[in-house]
Amino acid sequence: MNNYLPPIDHYIWLSSILFCIGVIGVLIRRNGIVLLMCIELMLNAVNLLFTSFSTYFQDASGQIFVFFIMVVAAAEVAVGLAILVMIYRNTKSVDISLLDRLKH
């Protein structure tokens, strides 16, 4: 029974796949709240990569960076959801394709 973690490459592949799933989610959904959730998924993929490289190089700075990313993500979500609630109050919908008035 080997007690080893997998190589760093597998962590990079997992993070790439998760990030791309987040990108696809942003491209195929129209609900603004689900879009914010896909952005959270992308941030989590980056966090996972930061942590795996931090473990690989045995350097704690990477994990501190993940902590700060979480701080910024929490603030971003609060502001984003407040803006979405405001949009819903004005248009009675969270459909982001209604918000193309700058185009006209």
């Binding site: 997998p6 998924l41 473990t55 704690a60 994990q63 609630v85």
Partner: protein
């Protein structure tokens, strides 16, 4: 042994993430995303990053996702009100994301180091706390200002602006 846990967790992470972007009901999307965050927390625990494990559970799966769920229920969104893109746009989105994935994996496929990750104890609360409050103490304090400004901004944006009272007070 640890590698097998990693592969099982990875498979579950990818499955729940795909379920999250394909679920019609936004509430189901939130629940699948919470499951994804639990799997990612498991990866942190596997790397012995105990601080990030518990912070990810409390902050992401606990606070942020409850905020999402709360807003969804406040706005009363469900499957019937969910806006859908046309099939052609969805296909284009999937192809674009797939091309990005192929590009990333194609760039990485040759760089096979084959070195296993070491098992360290730098992710413990004791070690990370020491680094956070010596080397990174200024960013830590600045992040509190960020939180304060975000809080003020949220209240300002989400407050219902009552036009009549403003006119009267002027």
């Amino acid at each position: 042994m640890l590698s097998y846990i990693f592969y099982i967790l990875s498979g579950l992470t990818i499955i729940t993430a795909i379920m999250m972007i394909t679920a019609r009901n936004p509430v189901h999307s939130v629940l699948y995303l919470i499951a994804t965050f639990f799997m990612v927390s498991g990866q942190y625990l596997l790397m012995n990053a105990q601080f990030l494990f518990i912070v990810n559970l409390i902050v992401y799966a606990g606070a942020i996702m409850v905020l999402f769920l709360f807003v969804l229920m406040l706005l009363n969104l469900n499957k019937e009100t969910e806006p859908q893109k046309s099939m052609k746009t969805k296909l284009a989105g999937v192809i674009t994301g797939g091309l990005l994935l192929i590009t990333l994996l194609g760039a990485l496929i040759k760089s096979n180091t084959g070195e296993n990750l070491p098992i360290t104890d730098i992710g413990l609360v004791k070690n990370l706390g020491r680094v956070l409050f010596t080397e990174f103490v200024v960013p830590f304090e600045i992040s509190s200002i960020l939180f304060l400004s975000a809080m003020v901004g949220v209240i300002l944006v989400a407050k219902r602006h009552n036009v009549e009272t403003e006119v009267i007070s002027e």
